[in-house]
């Protein structure tokens, strides 16, 4: 049964939302958090495991130093305090993707705590989000549910477990409650997760590919009556794994909570599951006594003492923060304020930077991304990067146009071919037979035919109404199925008619 919702506007008239996020970031270390097995995505099942990852009897964990350093860097980038002493704890619960039936995590002593980041929304408004903590832990294996409908856990007859992901280092970033976002809460949610993704990618500590689960978000939402200060009961929507989903999930939960509260009922404290297809959430497990994780200090690992020298040496390695980087790039590329904001909001700044470093001019890179690719991504309802157009492909495509091999219309078709996975621009061009007709012979034939077909227009041009040439050009383009260089066609028509431009 679908949950009742109010409209977003109705919800906002009566309630103030309070948000909170737990973002899990998979680190891109070479090996796992506690074992020397490879940390790699997409390999055959159970090939990146050793006895530690499978939780075989007798095994012991040893901490990956690089993972600790990456965690400290994340803490520093989030303006956190780095704990002088921290330790690991066991979070005990049974689940078949968790090989030891406990997760080695951090509990009362996280490595980083009490930070903040400033989140800039599309129109330039800035929200400060306070960070409660960032702690280290390990990822679980991957379950595949079979025998039921469409890989869902509900109704599945059995599941298969691949432990390749088990033990991949994670940093969990937990915010303090975020109040005051008002109707901008869904936007802020998206912008916050985007900022975290940007920061960890920029630090080089994570591949930050949400479609691979490198960055995963649990979104907490509660509502309180307008003007109140006491937080309402929250729901936690688990594993919202794209930026658009985060925004939609928060919006949906606000509307759902509002309907519950407006009807005088109480929100249930529970986890919710996000469904991308319907853009709704459904109830998961209620919070209960079963959430007694029986944390205790991990006896097989010893505390980490982060000396100030170590922390400072890591701070010195931090790359330029994204906000500063944006300022620098804007100046370097010479974009106007609105142009640059559009680029950022479209989520293609990194792509443009890559395209420029692959050899395109700043103007050309912007033209391709903003003029062509972003629009196609909107139509396809995906993030621009997900279309899979590489910087090299754009440089190649741009070169074909500038070199007179393609006109803009044909270039668009080539781009479609690249997106469809037909190969490089040149391959697509050849495969689709998209050849710009610039050989004068066939063009002159088409021109003569067009002039013959529209003698009155030809007369007008001869009489000096040069702007009428467009109709003849159109006829030629039609005859050549768009594969003619329009500029050259115009020149030839005028030449033919003995008129100077």
């Amino acid at each position: 049964m679908a949950d009742a919702t109010l409209t977003f506007d109705e919800a906002m008239e009566q309630f103030d939302p309070v948000l909170g996020f737990e973002v899990h970031v998979e680190l891109n270390t070479k090996t796992k958090m506690f074992s020397s097995a490879p940390n790699a995505f997409g390999d055959d099942p159970n090939t990146n495991v050793n006895e530690v990852d499978l939780g075989l009897p007798g095994v012991l964990p040893v901490v990956n130093k690089a993972a600790v350093e990456s965690s400290i860097k994340i803490g520093l980038a989030l303006n956190c305090e780095i704990a002088e002493s921290c330790r690991f704890a066991r979070k005990n619960y049974f689940y078949p993707d968790t090989p030891k039936n406990f997760q080695t995590s951090q509990y009362d002593e996280p490595i980083a705590h009490d930070g903040w980041i400033d989140i800039e929304l599309e129109d330039g408004e800035v929200f400060r989000v306070e960070i409660e903590r960032a702690h280290m832990e390990e990822d679980a294996g991957k379950l595949t549910h079979l025998g039921g409908a469409a890989g869902r856990i509900q109704g599945a007859e059995y599941s298969l477990v691949d432990y390749n992901r088990a033990g991949v280092p994670l940093v969990e970033i937990v915010t303090k409650p975020i109040v005051g976002a008002g109707r901008r809460a869904p936007e802020l949610a998206r912008a916050y997760v985007a900022a975290i993704r940007e920061i960890v990618k920029n630090l080089g500590v994570s591949d930050a590919r949400m479609e691979r689960g490198n960055v995963r978000c649990d979104a907490n939402v509660s509502l309180m009556p307008k003007g109140a200060t006491k937080f309402g009961i929250r729901s936690e929507t688990k594993n919202v794994n794209s930026l658009r989903s985060v925004e939609h999930a928060v919006r949906f939960e606000i509307q759902r909570h509002a309907a519950v509260l407006a009807a005088g009922a109480k929100v249930t404290q529970e986890t919710r599951h996000w469904h991308e297809d319907t853009r709704t959430t459904t109830a998961g497990r209620p919070k209960s006594d079963a959430d007694d994780y029986r944390y205790f200090p991990e006896p097989d690992l010893v505390p980490i003492h982060a000396s100030r020298e170590w922390v400072e040496s890591l701070r010195a390695q931090l790359p330029e923060p994204p906000a500063e980087r944006r300022k620098r790039l804007k100046t370097a590329w010479g974009y106007s304020d609105p142009e640059f904001r559009d680029v950022v909001n479209a989520g293609v700044m990194d792509a443009i930077e890559e395209t420029i470093s692959a050899g395109a001019s700043a103007a050309a890179a912007r033209k391709w991304w903003m003029g062509e690719i972003v629009g196609r991504a909107k139509v396809a309802d995906v993030d621009p990067a997900e279309l899979g157009v590489s910087a090299a492909a754009i440089v190649e495509l741009n070169g074909l146009v500038e070199g007179g091999k393609l006109n803009n219309k044909m270039a668009g078709q080539v781009l479609d071919g690249v997106i469809a996975g037909e190969g490089t621009p040149t391959q697509v061009m050849e495969a689709r037979g998209l050849v710009l007709v610039s050989d004068d012979g066939p063009l002159l034939e088409a021109i003569d035919a067009a002039l013959a077909a529209q003698p009155d227009v030809a007369d007008k041009i001869r009489a000096g109404k040069v702007q009428a040439v467009g109709a003849i050009v159109g006829g030629v383009m039609k005859a050549t199925r768009g594969q003619a260089d329009a500029g050259r066609v115009k020149e030839l028509i005028l030449e033919r008619l003995g008129v100077s431009a």
Binding site: K30, S36, V62, V161, P297
Partner: protein, 98 residues
């Protein structure tokens, strides 16, 4: 004597994933209460100023370099599996959704 009911033990058995018969729950409740009585004096032994010791010998910063080491072959990894399919461990349906 410590108050440990059959329901308490049933809850603990659920947390510990051990199926227990009603007779086992009753017996365990009695034994547990006895043992807890025998050990609970520890809560009076130390004041709030005494630090906790989790490791008998204090060490810190024991790390491993981020260098790839050995892995098991899938055959080795699955050699003890009660049930397997397509190089993965096969388990019955999962009710809970966490």
């Amino acid at each position: 004597m410590a108050e440990i009911t059959r329901d308490d033990v049933a809850h603990l058995a659920q947390l510990a994933r051990i199926e227990m018969s009603p007779e086992e729950l009753d017996r365990m409740a009695g034994e547990l209460a006895h043992i807890v009585d025998a050990v609970k004096s520890v809560s009076e032994a130390a004041g709030p100023d005494v630090p906790a010791t989790s490791h008998p010998i204090a060490l810190s910063n024991v790390f491993r370099e981020d260098t790839v080491g050995h892995v098991l072959t899938p055959a080795e990894a699955l050699s003890g599996a009660p049930d397997a399919e397509e190089h993965r461990f096969r388990v019955p349906a999962i009710l809970d959704e966490e």
